[in-house]
Symmetry: C2
Subunit: 304 residues, 2 copies
């Protein structure tokens, strides 16, 4: 059975929306600790403008400061050509481009329609040629848009096709605001795997409405083995106040390991890193296994 | 496609562990509001000793005070013959007996081994004969015991067989402390449905480790259509401090309705009842859809 490939996104997707800047040294310690747990990939930061995302203004220092381990890919978010050049100069393994499947989310989040994003991606891909860096694209709102509602499957499939034609090597289908349900996830995953059985598809879920792990299960049942997840469930959706954010890495790893599906991750080590998050970010995190313990935890019989 | 049958357990399983007694009138209003949402069954209270569970010391007044609606079964927990007689005197539709699949959980929770529970059930069943009341039995720790660990599937199947031989009409397989994973759920559900395709099996999950909805999905995929759930995710597990409790009714209904699986429940009405829970119990509840809104919620485009 294929080992899952977990892409840890907390250092980027989680820390970018925290109220407080996490010091560079603490970020490096976090990523180094995550690297040691056996995760396949870590999205370490975003090479965006420091004005746009002040929390990640230390992108170069972070990537240059972390320990690189064989087998752990370091990926970074890249919004434009300038960001791509900065990322390549730091020696990353992978860059992650982001666009929306829906016009209104693209305009609200990136100030670009999907068409404009695709044009920009072409420039960036040209700049990566010969670098050996893997280029992934994340397709936001693949399962629905918080402004427009339903995003037709044909639209998502059409954008996947154009991304692959452009030369993008991997594609992440993102349930950006936790709208996906397991039936829909099963259908879309089956559709992309049928058309592009060789392409590495990653699934990115949020737990906004409690369906994060159920959606991951549904994706895995179709043959998907690559997942984004965020330590402690850090991250979130600005359109769902009070709701939890990204699917939690250790809860995802725990579920699959309990099912007998190998993740390659040392869950105890991961839980130890997660246990330090509340101190790092200054608030409780939504992850549940770190509070309840693993399913094989044993309790003493109560005194009579 | 079969409509799901949701058994709402918050009035019993949720309120019994709350720090404060919920006034009888408020309980009756809660159950009446739940009855109006289209739930198949409501576990209204427990006919146990007022000393054992002071929060439910008003069992008679609650059952006699609620409005009965056609199509909404009122079930109550019954721990012994005395409780059964009290329940029958109030005119309930169903009684729910509880035993553990593991010796140590039975002793810790009920002061009875499974064998002793079965003996007691025989007495209770004799008392219900001719009453027309449906007798269900809930089998705690069917997916693992917090003291002993693994509970072998053969042991669970053996107890199900003996319960059915005794004359129990429905059986609830309970993941009492949130230890089940979707692979295990799929296996046990397939095993019981293969051996007893006509018996009404209900699945009772906790969200202790975040797998509640994933487990419900896995059960439904095998053909299970009856689920216990608790409004707002009330209830909990004394052995997992800080963890969430029962799987949340409105989150479960939301997931299945989003998938196109009919639940018979008016989700908006259910969410309205759930929104009143924090005031009723004096604390926030873990349910997520009530905070985030349904997946079809639309947001205005942010101002530029």
């Amino acid at each position: 059975m294929t080992t899952l490939q977990i892409n840890e996104v907390a250092p980027r997707d989680g820390l970018q929306i925290e109220a407080e800047f996490v010091p560079t040294e603490a970020k490096i310690r976090l990523i180094d600790a995550l690297s040691a747990t056996g995760l396949a990939r870590i999205e370490a930061t975003s090479f965006t403008s420091p004005k746009a995302i002040p929390n990640l203004r230390d992108a170069e220092e972070v990537v240059r400061g972390i320990k690189r381990r064989p087998g752990v890919g370091i990926t970074v978010l890249v919004p434009n050509l300038r960001g791509c050049e900065r990322a390549l100069a730091c020696g990353v393994d992978e860059i992650n481009l982001v666009m929306s499947a829906s016009d209104s989310h693209g305009l609200a989040n990136l100030r670009m329609t999907p068409e404009q994003s695709l044009e920009r991606f072409a420039e960036i891909l040209a700049a990566t040629r010969g670098s050996g860096v893997f280029v992934n694209a994340s397709l936001s709102t693949s399962f629905g848009c918080p402004f427009e509602g339903e995003v037709p499957e044909t639209r998502v499939l059409g954008l996947v096709e154009r991304l692959l034609e452009l030369g993008v090597e991997g594609i992440t289908l993102c349930d950006t605001t936790g709208m996906a349900n397991p039936a829909q996830v099963g259908r879309l995953c089956e559709a992309v795997l049928e058309r592009w059985p060789e392409a590495p598809f990653t699934l990115h879920f949020h737990n906004t409405r409690g369906m994060g792990l159920a959606n991951a299960l549904a994706a895995w049942q179709t043959g998907i083995v690559r997942f984004d997840a965020s330590l402690g469930g850090l991250g979130g959706c600005p359109y769902a106040p009070g709701a939890t954010g990204n699917v939690c890495t250790e809860d995802l790893v725990h579920m699959f390991e309990q099912m007998g599906v190998a993740t390659g991750v040392d869950l105890d080590a991961l839980l130890a890193v997660s246990a330090g998050l509340p101190e790092l970010v200054g608030h409780a995190t939504p992850g549940q296994v770190v509070k309840a313990g693993k399913a094989d935890r044993r309790y003493p019989m109560p005194a009579r």
